[in-house]
């Protein structure tokens, strides 16, 4: 903490971004800044609100060189950003060096990590000597997926503001240390199902079951042991033409060939063609006869043209209206031996896509040798 332990003595702290960087879209900058603040509002009783008011508490800007605070930036690399401790005037303000290459990836300077660090200063934290802390002074990229504040930073900021009373207990570091799901549970709900190389893969929490040929039996594995970086699969499908499998998790998706992630992934759902309102895909299935992929989100579905690599026009459509017999939601979908299977809850429907007709209803767990 700073001498005198300055902090914000209010429940809602406002911020305003006055100068954006052209390196990223304004929408991405807004959402990344909001995400960085949320790291703190998740654990302390303080909320952050973006404002257009001149009198916002924390003013944020991207500027290069001398920018009027007697701490000029130094061109690319070196100093990436700086921020002021809580207070009036410049207090809490955060400045980012426009000469850096701001990104959301491991390239250049990751805006989320740098902003989260600077907001630590804006809330009252000084630099930490703990190399694993966010407030360590030198920049190092770490995976930002599901990022939470390291212990040193959490303890520091909670010592100033207290603990948010409505937060859930801190998740265990090893999310998949929970007992593996029971494949023969009659209430088994799949997160996702796909074929890969002629075998079926059923995903549930941090695990998957692999169902091979008739004599191969069913084996269970941790997702992380095969596809590092993937914690839980919301939806998945195989593109046999490209020999790849696509995984959706949260608002991102990955493309793998075997165990290797293709360059440039993960990408955001908006890169796939979804509107920004879509933050999670429930299910996906590649319909091989028409080389299109159906993607399910809540009670609607999209059609993706794999040849043109873009969404078909006229979508999304309502599931219950255009795929009669499937229901209103799909949790998992896959193609097997020419039929589509749409799973919702613990049940699934075998479906003839061309005729738009449900053929059978069966229980999920029956696929797993029970």
């Amino acid at each position: 903490h700073f001498d005198g332990r300055p902090k914000w003595n209010k429940a809602v702290v406002t911020y305003r971004i006055t100068d954006y960087t052209p390196d990223m879209s304004q929408r991405d900058i807004n959402s990344t800044i909001a995400k960085a603040f949320k790291l703190y509002s998740d654990i302390i009783p303080l909320d952050f609100q973006q404002s257009d008011s001149e009198t916002a508490d924390i003013m944020i800007k991207f500027k290069s060189g001398d920018h009027g605070d007697f701490a000029p930036f130094d061109g690319q690399n070196g100093v990436l950003a700086h921020a002021f401790s809580p207070g009036e005037g410049n207090g809490g303000d955060a400045h980012f060096d426009e000469d850096e290459n701001w990104t959301l990836t491991s390239e250049g300077a990751n805006l989320f990590l740098v902003a989260a660090h600077e907001f630590g200063h804006a809330l009252g934290l000084v630099h930490s000597q703990d190399e694993t802390a966010l407030m360590f002074p030198t920049y190092k990229y770490v995976n930002t997926d599901r990022y939470t504040l390291p212990d040193d930073d959490r303890e520091g900021v909670q010592a100033l503001y207290g603990v948010r009373s409505d937060i859930l207990p801190k998740p265990q570091p090893e999310a998949t240390s929970e007992p593996p799901p029971d494949r023969c549970n009659r209430d088994l709900v799949f997160d996702a199902v796909t074929t890969i190389g002629g075998k079926l893969f059923f995903f549930k929490d941090g695990y998957f079951w692999r169902k091979g040929g008739r004599w191969e039996g069913i084996t269970r594995h941790k997702i992380q042991s095969v596809w590092p970086g993937i914690h839980k699969v919301d939806a998945a499908y195989e593109n046999k033409n490209r020999n790849t499998v696509i995984f959706f998790e949260g608002n991102q998706y990955w493309q793998f060939r075997g165990k290797t992630v293709l360059p440039g992934y993960p990408k955001r759902l908006s890169d796939f063609g979804f509107p920004s309102s879509v933050t999670k895909v429930d299910a996906a299935v590649h319909v091989s006869t028409i080389s299109k992929t159906l993607l399910f989100v809540n009670n609607k579905y999209w059609s993706y043209n794999e040849g043109r690599r873009r969404m078909d026009r006229g979508y999304p459509k309502f599931i219950h209206r255009h795929l009669p017999g499937v229901g209103h939601r799909v949790d998992a979908a896959f193609e097997n031996r020419g039929h589509l299977y749409f799973s919702s809850g613990s049940r699934q429907t075998e479906y003839h896509y061309q005729r738009r007709r449900a053929l059978h209803t069966l229980m999920n767990y029956l696929w797993l040798g029970c």
Binding site: F2, D3, N77, L80, H121, Q129
Partner: protein, 82 residues
């Protein structure tokens, strides 16, 4: 004009780094023998090495130079601003 040697360049960069991040008044030149109001180069370098968990030698070794070359936050590491 003669060009400065790599060693001199490193010393100059280190002086700037220490002045910016480990001192509130600035750091004297490493070769300075004159008493000044600036912080001593060697003492400040030791502070910096201690802060980053490096071996505290007071010498501008390769590990210290590597840390100084990393991209970083512009905030002072020793500051306790009120």
């Amino acid at each position: 004009m003669p060009t400065s040697s790599p060693r001199q360049e490193n010393l100059s960069k280190a002086q700037n780094y220490l002045s910016q991040f480990f001192s509130e008044v600035g750091v004297a030149s490493p070769s300075s023998v004159v008493r000044s109001s600036l912080d001593s180069f060697n003492d400040t370098l030791k502070k910096m090495q201690e802060f980053f968990g490096l071996e505290v030698t007071g010498q501008l070794d390769s590990n210290t130079l590597e840390v100084m070359a990393r991209p970083r936050c512009g905030f002072n590491d020793m500051a306790r601003y009120g």
